[in-house]
Symmetry: C2
Subunit: 119 residues, 2 copies
């Protein structure tokens, strides 16, 4: 029951596309991540994902549209929906998703992260 | 897959201790609430709760300690742990918890909110 300071946690890492676990509850993870550039198209068959923008601007690409998510906004990507996060400049995000979620979903590759750090 | 702007949502209501649903994923609710004053002691037998402070300062009382949660900090209260939120001045929080969660937990009363608004 200790509090978590998001700024302190964000200051503790710099790598992109490498989510860190900062909390766990009800089988869900709270993660922090920094994105820059372009991720891979993917979907999660069993997990909805929430992206909350703490700093910067996230562009979430879908097959039929693109959504700009600014600071203090979030977007929920439902399971089964293909998406690709993009960030022209670095963006810091908080993620809420089941603890079973793999970042690249159905499209594993070089960007896949397993055994995430808890910070 | 529309984004949610937390400031717009917060501006849309003013009542205290009345959480509003702003998102749902994986059987969890994302809620916004404004607290001011003192809530009732309670616990949730089956639900962990996350309180993320968007604006202001939250004091979370436990039977054996008190934790001050400032802006951009969160605290997770595990199931079964008695707690009482307090706010000397108004605080705006985002909650992340199962969609079965009743705000007053095991201590229903005048403060109990059911059939929460989705905003």
């Amino acid at each position: 029951m200790n509090k978590v300071n998001l700024k302190d946690k964000l200051d503790s890492f710099s790598e992109h596309w490498s989510p860190k676990i900062v909390g766990e509850l009800n089988g869900q993870h709270v993660k922090l991540a920094k994105f820059k550039g372009e991720f891979a198209w993917h979907k999660h068959d069993n997990e909805d994902e929430l992206f909350y923008v703490l700093k910067g601007t996230l562009r979430m690409e879908f097959r039929d549209k693109s959504v700009i998510v600014n600071e203090n906004e979030f977007i929920i990507v439902p399971k089964g929906i293909e998406h690709k996060p993009l960030a022209d400049n670095e963006v810091s995000v908080m993620l809420f998703e089941p603890n079973t979620t793999i970042n690249t979903g159905n499209n594993p590759g070089e960007l896949t992260q397993k055994d995430l750090d808890k910070i």
